[in-house]
Symmetry: C2
Subunit: 885 residues, 2 copies
């Protein structure tokens, strides 16, 4: 048999290899070189190759970054290569770096192989100094523009490279504005800016302890270094962790000649999507600002115009832009997210990449691109990240409810959410994690520092910024509801309140936001299931045609079963009977049963519980007509059903007419040191066979009834926590004997099998297969035992593990393919050796994780089972697994 | 690779096969047929074959028993076969079953493939009824003898077959004795016994509801059935469980013509060993009683004579006995335990088997039999059960102590023990298990019903019975100290006291007993290590010459290390550093360290702890000069070091000048739901690297010092609980960097490796091997995780598992070869694929279990490590593994 060798880890590779070629000019690369040049760099090269107007430049590779971070120095000959590429750039542009007459200015931007928007640093206008400003003034004819560019450069450079607090620059700028009695930056004159430049330089010298460097080459080298170092800042690390970005070793650095959108009124800059990233509609969608630099659009400080307005302002540039966007979309066969600048009427593309989009948009774009014959069905299916479907499957505000709308912003990310208002990301995280509260994070605008708070919140509401603002972009990526640019509201974070006209919303008040309409409401509104679009149904049909892995739902009630069916589940892979025990009317019976002193006393509550369970199963079997239902017999340790608090125990003693002290003693005896490894699962069945008998009677009676009513029942009775075949043999006899008591009345299909969740069950699966009609992997427990982690206690060290890269992902979220997966493979091999047709599925949380679904397909499982809402995700992931294979 | 297929279990075999031949006459079998005929039956056949005088008979096979117990009926043609064998027996003996003149009488005895003395039922004198008594009177010439035999038969049959309470017969007997004014059974006349027989029969009819059967064939059939059924009685099940007797399906039944030791003064019966079973000395050793049946000797009611006395009474029989015992010992090449009867001067052997013996005897016999050229060294080594060496390694009463001896009995089983006096087996078990008390079980005599109490007690003291009494035999088998036949004491169980002259010892008082001298002392005496005999040393030398598996000791102190060395340990396989943290002077430092609010505050206690740990390691390294020492870094969760009780927490808060409420909060935060799966092992090292650094500093400083003092240090630094190679890589760096700080002062050998105790470590052992210089299996945790059992909680279901045969043995005591062993094999294969010379050992409790040691040898481990006292066991087991392979 094959033992899967665990993946080679970075740490095993030994020292990072010295790169042979460190820098690629834009005419040397192409889009296939994403690993080496980063996404941005590869696409700048690709655009150059296909003749799109791109300011020329070059890309320093990710290998250099990895080498630099590891060795704390550059590769040999790097400096020479840099000078060579710079010389080439000077020739191409006809300008010279540091030249007082005709200076070359460049931007320095990060760009990793996977997109990490805003996570690392960018520096614009590099090359300016007290000498080169003059040349630029001469060229641009605008002293004001040049000094504005200069002060922006010093500000960025001072912040990013020299570590001077961002706020200091803002203070100095405010002071100059105040002195001159103006309120907008644009109202400042050239002379004011000149003064500001000098103040900035003084401040930099004082704060950083060294002067602002005048040498453009030094500026460049320091900037490159700063971009490299930003790879390991906390923001970037958090982003990578939250987005499961692994396997990368660093960022590339793009050095590109500057073009200016802020050189006058015939200049501008914008960002756009080739289709609507929110709905997927095939319309050109974007925003621009005239006389502005790119950061002005993205930062959301000035509210930009719709891209269609550009036609009226500069028709030639607009027509060219339309042409370029069509070319790019066809070329990349995907919706593009582009950045452009118009410099004195000339269009330049600064970036293109596959655009982030909502799930709804992803689905619509995929379907429509097939209709447009741009993609095959397989390509379209691969284009959709299965996880993103989560967004489509989230509840919305219930239709028809009265909405007391207090404000309206931009519908920046779909879905709806309600929760308590908080004003900082730290509070958001704290309340969500520690107090388990649902919160809405309310901010003027968000920034990369807010990632953790945004992750913790149910939704985001901002008073500033557009559809491409930080909040909007990040929320769409997270599948999280967002209302942005809601300018009607006044966010007063220090006073911890929001003011909307006469309405005051305080911290802790509950609000509801609707990311589809942009509406904000006070209080909590009831949610409803989303209606699925026709494109969604088409995608699911395509996926179902291709996939071979079956998909079931985990459901414990008729209602959940129905949701599963609606989402395309082909059966129930896990029905947890204990969940049926927790309702108010039953918990008392359960406690009576547990606390009975012998089998005799246990009889009465068991009979009543059985009657209740019959009803549960009837409901589920009716909904699942003709589809298999796997019912797991009682699994959790009995003490989970008992009260812990003294007062509750006393009440219970009273209810059961027992002595409180005795009861405390009994409950204390049931306590376990490690309940996860204790008296539960089939161990309960073996020590209290009458409980399992009762459950099997309930299943049998329900199945007979439903079958008699004309529906077809297929039930799989599942014995949990088997680690030794004799456990299964013992309980199989109990189950079979119980069914046999119904004699010829038994008119339904059934199997008796086991959950595979104990490592020993995998190792002895050939033996266990002899006594099992089916296997179902319980990967939650299997993962905990294989790692020796308790899900309840992992929080004490998991963060340190993720931060130190010891674990790349939480193995309870996505199957650990080498360890847990290796045991699964051994289990399947041994099990199928004994019974070649053995039906094997998985019912752990992993059943709805796309990577895990792909793994399950690869190793030959028959089905995955997951929560009803994740069924479509599993269906798509299962189809992708076939296509990729 | 090979995946070990788990062993085929009984339950998997399907229905028990119908046996083809059910019964073997004694001239049809031989000693190789032990599985089929049981030990007793096979040996009766063997003795018949080699010409030893054995009363003829036949054996019903164990297959018939298994079939009967499973199918609740006999195999086809069984009745015919029985009649045929009976007819043959009648011919051989010249007697007829049920014949009024010349009746054949038989005994019916159980006999399984493995010896279970006294666990199942025996019936003597079968064939007697109101008609046949007359024939026997004629033959024996003694009416008294015949009626005595008859009443014994009814008593046994009534008890065993018809379920009449044993005590009822005793009462009736007592009443007759009282009526006749006699105190001994032997004083009753024939007529008295005749009356008694009638009373017995009436009583049986009344109690059992059916008459005592007159038909000998019916008597026989019912007796066979009763013996079969006794296989599954509680006594027998407990015995099999305690003695790890598994894999048997039933007992054979031996039907043998009766010979009588109680037919007159020229008759007698005895039991003997061919050598002294207590010391091993080559002297004929046994006891006999004239005019008695076998049960009289074993039951210990009359005190028997030494076998050497027989020479004076019946020289011919004695000489023949000596001849027979020499023949048997040479034939079986082992010390024999024989039962014999002399009927009117004629010697008969009723049983021979390899004799149970003390460890001391086993060792001496093995060595001397090699000297006598009866055995090879290999055969001698295989003859000793490694577990029995435990007896030799148990502490004795310290030499030179004043002994206040209050009574003296027989030195029935070696060793010494002290504990609280208890009078019933139930109390013994209860006090030992529930209150964790050491107890001495004091009884007039013991019986098979007492097994559980004897197991629970430290030692046994009886007032009756000899060296072959039940108490003596069982205790020697258990390796438990026993003083038997201590007639000076009066045991008054109902008044719960022992009276010795003027001394009264009450229940709960502490006594000490010495099984080597037979002495009983009041109070607790200090114990000392045993001195090992020269034979023991010889056996160990032979074992060491043969074995290839190294043996190390688990030791945490210089003292334990020295014991390990004395017992032949070749290194320390596990030194648990946390044990060093629990002493009074250190626990405060440990608590200070744990409760420090940051790394800074942790520094001071860490430095002090380091100084302490340096001393610990110096001591150990000095003792272990030139031998490897594996030091495991801190493993248990930190909360294990903290107080739990409110009052203790308050005291601690006071000591540390901290706020008690804060401290409670901190301690409560450290609480874990499943500590076994929580924040411990390397997970602590990763979150608190400074603790591991401190430990490595202590190791390094100690090693440098000891090496400088002229001894050689070889230290293996072990990282616990690794499940992912990056954990090990991370901590390996920490450890290496810490050692490197000592620069050129590092003058000792060291390795950095890991404990393999997480299933995932086995599955990814190729990756882990890249970062490890050695592996050591921690099979305690590996077993818990592979099964999903918590050692602390297993008690709730393990008894049910053992009773139902779901587990054959507690897997924490002996390695589960299919599951845990399978993971070990995968680990070794992957690890050695990456590093062919990887040193791999085991340090779990299993390292001292003989079966586990054999398994470790088979799969290719380099060493086992166990508690110092078990080192000799492991050495012998390792040699046996080589011989058996």
């Amino acid at each position: 048999m094959i033992i899967p060798s665990s993946s080679i880890t970075k740490a095993d590779k030994g020292p990072v290899k010295k790169p042979s070629k460190s820098i690629y000019s834009f005419d040397e690369g192409d889009k296939s070189m994403r690993e080496l040049l980063g996404g941005k760099g590869a696409n700048l090269s690709e655009m150059t190759k296909i003749g799109i107007p791109v300011p020329f430049g070059f890309t320093i590779t990710t290998e250099v970054c990895a080498y630099f971070l590891d060795e704390k120095k550059y590769p040999e000959l790097f400096a020479e290569e840099l000078e060579e590429k710079l010389a080439l750039l000077e020739v191409k542009m006809g300008k010279k770096f540091g030249d007082a007459k005709n200076p070359l200015l460049v931007s320095v931007r990060s760009g990793a192989a996977k997109s990490m928007p805003g996570m690392m640093d960018t520096i614009l206008n590099l090359g300016l100094n007290d000498k080169t400003v003059n040349g630029l003034i001469e060229q641009s004819g605008s002293e004001r523009f040049v000094y504005d560019s200069y002060r922006r450069f010093i500000q960025m450079f001072g912040d990013v490279v020299m570590g001077v607090d961002h706020a200091k620059f803002e203070e100095a700028l405010e002071a100059v504005k105040e002195k001159n009695g103006v309120s907008l930056d644009t109202e400042l004159e050239a002379d004011d800016l000149k003064v500001l430049v000098n103040e900035y330089k003084e401040m930099v010298k004082e704060e950083a302890g060294r002067p602002f460097p005048e040498s453009p080459l030094e500026q460049l080298k320091l900037s490159i270094e700063a971009v490299f170092n930003s790879w390991d800042n906390d923001r970037a690390k958090t982003y990578r962790r939250l987005n499961n970005i692994t396997g990368l070793t660093g960022t590339a650095v793009n050095v590109q000649s500057m073009v200016f959108g802020n050189m006058g009124d015939d200049c501008g800059t914008g960002v756009a999507f080739t289709r609507n990233p929110s709905t997927g509609e095939k319309v050109f969608y974007g925003e621009f600002l005239m006389n502005a630099q790119g950061e002005d659009v993205v930062a959301g400080i000035r509210t930009p115009q719709d891209v269609s307005e550009l036609e009226k302002i500069d028709k030639a540039a607009y027509d060219q832009l339309i042409d370029v966007k069509d070319t790019l979309e066809k070329h990349y066969k995907d919706m593009q997210d582009i950045e452009f600048t118009i410099e004195k009427g000339k269009l330049f593309l600064l970036q293109t990449r596959n655009g982030k989009r909502t799930a709804q948009a992803a689905v619509r774009i995929a379907v429509e691109m097939v209709e447009e014959e741009l993609l095959t069905q397989e390509e379209a299916l691969l284009m959709i990240d299965p996880s993103c479907l989560n967004q489509l499957l989230h509840p919305m505000i219930k239709k028809g409810l009265d909405r007391d709308v207090v404000a309206k912003g931009l519908p920046a990310s779909p879905g709806a959410a309600c929760g308590k208002v908080v004003f900082t990301s730290d509070e958001a995280m704290q309340m969500a994690e520690e107090q388990n509260e649902k919160v809405i994070l309310v901010r003027k605008e968000t920034s990369p520092e807010d990632i953790h708070g945004m992750h913790a919140a149910q939704g985001i509401l901002t008073s500033r910024g557009g559809m491409t603002s930080h909040a909007a972009v990040v929320c769409r990526g997270m599948g999280k509801c967002c209302v942005a640019g809601c300018s009607e509201i006044m966010v007063n974070a220090s006073a911890r309140k929001i003011i909307i006209g006469d309405t005051v919303i305080k911290e802790g008040d509950i609000i509801t936001i609707d990311g589809n309409s942009g509406e904000v409401m006070v209080g909590e509104l009831e949610m409803q299931e989303p209606e699925l679009t026709k494109e969604f149904k088409i995608i699911m049909e395509w996926a179902d045609e291709i996939r071979t892995l079956k998909v079931r739902a985990n459901a414990d009630t008729p209602e959940d079963s129905q949701v599963g069916i609606d989402f395309g589940a082909e059966g129930i892979g896990l029905c947890r009977t204990e969940h049926m025990f927790f309702s108010d009317d039953r918990i008392k019976l359960v406690r009576q049963m547990i606390l009975a002193k012998d089998e005799e006393e246990r009889k009465a509550p068991l009979i009543k519980l059985k009657e209740n369970q019959v009803d549960d199963f009837v409901g589920i079997f009716e909904v699942m007509d003709d589809k298999p239902v796997t019912v797991r017999l009682l699994d959790p340790p009995l003490h989970e059903f008992l009260p812990e608090k003294e007062s509750e125990i006393e009440k219970l003693a009273n209810d059961l007419s027992k002595d409180a002290e005795d009861l405390k003693q009994v409950i204390s005896n049931l306590h376990e040191v490690n309940p996860m490894l204790g008296h539960r699962g089939c161990r309960l069945g073996i020590t209290y066979p009458d409980i399992y008998k009762m459950q099997v009677q309930a299943i049998t009676e329900a199945a007979i009834k439903v079958q008699n009513d004309g529906k077809k029942v297929i039930v799989e009775i599942e014995i949990p926590l088997v680690g030794e075949v004799k456990e299964l043999l013992f309980l199989r006899k109990v189950v079979q004997a119980t069914i046999d008591e119904y004699g010829t009345r038994v008119n339904f299909e059934y199997k008796i099998g086991t959950m595979i969740e104990i490592p020993r069950a995998c190792m002895t699966a050939d033996e266990i297969a002899k006594a099992a009609d089916f296997f179902s992997f319980g990967t939650n427990d299997l993962t905990q035992l294989t790692y020796g982690y308790s899900r309840d206690d992992i929080g004490k060290f998991l963060p340190a593990y993720l931060d130190n890269g010891i674990l790349e992902r939480d193995p309870t979220a996505s199957i650990d393919q080498s360890g847990v997966g290796g045991l699964m493979q051994i289990c399947m091999e041994l099990g199928r050796k004994e019974k070649p047709d053995l039906d094997i599925g998985i019912c752990g949380e992993h059943g709805g994780d796309p990577d895990s679904v792909e793994f399950c397909h690869k190793i030959g499982l028959n089905y995955v089972s997951c929560s009803p809402y994740r069924v479509p995700i599993a269906r798509l992931a299962a189809a992708q697994a076939v296509i990729r294979k």
